[in-house]
């Protein structure tokens, strides 16, 4: 394992320190925790907390800022944060208007956020949760309980964050977050695995001429192993599944996210984008906005995911609203 680290046990705390130093105006750390919060909270608004394992940078702390999240909780690498830490985040951002938790559908995340909301409620804080499950790789669309939450979560952060900033109630923010979840789908693939620092070796093995389709964002293996194909074929395979699952029709308007998993050059992401765009044009979809870059990574995994968000007027205006999050400025 070759990594720029000190001790595998310290990677999360070292990272958080560095991140806080890089954005001293915007971010601060809650003492004794791995919770990163907005330095200046907007008063009179619903609080927004997300989080998850580390190793997905810029998720989740990169989405903390005016117009997006109020706090993000960093767990160990690919491991859910614990209830006590999530509780600290909830307490820190509650201004009396309640707190919405944005959780990705992974067993550990769901359980830890569940326990944290029980604890917060016992302290008199109003808490609601939404569970993002945008990954079409792992289950049929009518089996929504089993799908994972991946890059589409960033759109949920953005839209719920913009809604909260308008002074909407907890229920209104939750409702728009759920609408976003219902209308967003993603699918990913990998060319090489990644190495969790504490494990010291790659999470799975791929031959030089193989690719893995349907990977999650925790270095876990995907659903199907195939010979490596062209960018055009990869784009078509990923986009078609997302398109079908979302039930898109000609004339629908979408936002597109081409997400790198940590070690894919932008060159390749743009090549992919070109083909995704071509496919969407062929299907007579209108692309409202395209985001290309690293939004939800899997350490140094080589690969990508394609996310489509079906839009309406409300989602469009919330997507375009101002954001000061360090990794998503609008």
């Amino acid at each position: 394992m070759k990594k720029i680290i000190n001790n595998p046990n310290d990677v999360v705390s070292d990272m958080v320190s560095g991140m806080i130093q890089a954005f001293p105006e915007e971010l601060e750390q809650i003492d004794g925790t791995m919770v990163i919060k907005r330095k200046e909270l907007s008063s009179n608004k619903v609080g927004l907390v997300s989080g998850g394992g580390s190793g997905h940078e810029p998720a989740h702390a990169g989405y903390v800022g005016k117009g997006m999240l109020d706090a993000a909780v960093a767990g160990e690498v690919f491991t859910s944060p614990t209830p006590d830490q999530i509780l600290e985040a909830i307490k820190a951002v509650d201004t009396g208007h309640g707190v919405l938790l944005i959780v990705k559908n992974y067993t550990g995340d769901v359980m830890n956020f569940d326990m944290a909301s029980e604890l917060a409620e016992s302290e008199g804080i109003k808490v609601e949760q939404v569970i993002v499950n945008d990954d079409v790789a792992v289950e049929d669309s009518d089996f929504t309980t089993g799908r994972r939450g991946i890059a589409g979560t960033v759109f949920v952060h953005k839209i719920a964050g913009a809604m909260a900033e308008t002074g909407a109630t907890l229920n209104e923010v939750k409702e728009v977050a759920e609408k976003t979840i219902n209308q967003v789908r993603s699918m990913g693939m990998a060319l090489t695995p990644c190495t969790v620092p504490a494990a010291g070796k790659p999470s799975f093995q791929l031959e030089e001429n193989e690719m893995e389709i349907g990977i999650g964002i925790h270095g876990e293996a995907g659903i199907e192993r195939k010979p490596i194909a062209s960018a055009e074929d990869i784009a078509n395979e990923l986009t078609q599944k997302v398109f079908d699952d979302l039930g898109l029709q000609s004339g629908d308007e979408v936002a597109v996210m081409i997400n790198g998993l940590g070690a894919t050059p932008e060159m390749e992401l743009f090549i992919l984008q070109k083909h995704v765009n071509h496919l969407l044009e062929n299907k007579r979809l209108s692309v409202f906005r395209t985001y290309v870059g690293e939004f939800m990574t899997s350490l140094e995994m080589t690969g990508c995911s394609v996310t489509l968000l079906k839009l309406d007027d409300q989602l469009k205006s919330l997507l375009e609203a101002a954001s000061e999050a360090t990794a998503f400025r609008v």
Partner: protein, 205 residues
């Protein structure tokens, strides 16, 4: 057979030893059908349990186990943190105000722990999770009041090995569907270590 505070400490120390010794093995199991963090998390969590509890003066096993539960919850993370945290919390509650844990208390405590795990994980028997080890061990105490420590160990081990042939329908491994068959469930392995350590500490009690 009765367990006292020191026997419970012994149980925790043996559990920690097994987690440290088998850290890499648990990582390997989890690499096959999960995201490879189970060994890392369990080794970190149980090390913290020992660090946190070794110099504390507890009045009863229940007090000690409550601290164990909170430490596992706040240090393990993932799904295993809340699940084992809940199990040890239920044990602590079941053994409240008892200084000597009789075999009947073990039965009731483990049953409460199992119920807690099922409720927290919204899972049941046969889904290729730690429940598939907890369930047969609890059953053993129900069936035989004088169960031998070696039988506890053997039952937990066999139950762990039996998860190999199951298809996962709960937990991270469920994403792998048929591909999960042929691999031992990592959570069932860590539960086996906990019961193996329990058996040893019962033998020594």
């Amino acid at each position: 057979m009765k367990l006292q505070l020191n026997d419970i400490r012994n149980w925790l120390e043996l559990s920690n030893q097994l987690m440290q010794e088998n850290r890499s093995y648990l990582i390997e199991l989890d690499q096959a059908i999960g995201d490879s963090d189970h060994g890392i998390n369990m080794a970190r969590g149980f090390q913290e349990v020992i660090t946190k509890t070794q110099d504390q003066n507890y009045q009863s096993p229940s007090d000690l186990l409550k601290d164990v539960a909170m430490t596992l919850m706040s240090k393990v993370g993932g799904a295993a943190g809340p699940l084992y945290g809940t199990a040890f919390l239920k044990l602590s509650m079941a053994w409240k105000d008892k200084n000597e844990i009789q075999v009947n208390d073990i039965k009731e405590g483990l049953q409460a722990g199992l119920d807690g795990i099922k409720q927290r994980g919204k899972a049941t028997t046969g889904e290729k999770t730690m429940i598939d080890v907890w369930d047969p061990v609890v059953q053993l105490f129900k069936d035989d009041e004088n169960v031998a420590p070696s039988t506890i160990e053997e039952t937990a081990k066999r139950a762990m090995n039996d998860t190999k042939e199951l298809k996962a329908t709960k937990g991270r491994a469920s994403y792998f569907k048929e591909k999960s068959i042929g691999h031992i469930d990592p959570g069932s392995a860590s539960s086996y270590y906990i019961f193996s350590a329990l058996a040893t500490s019962i033998k020594g009690a």
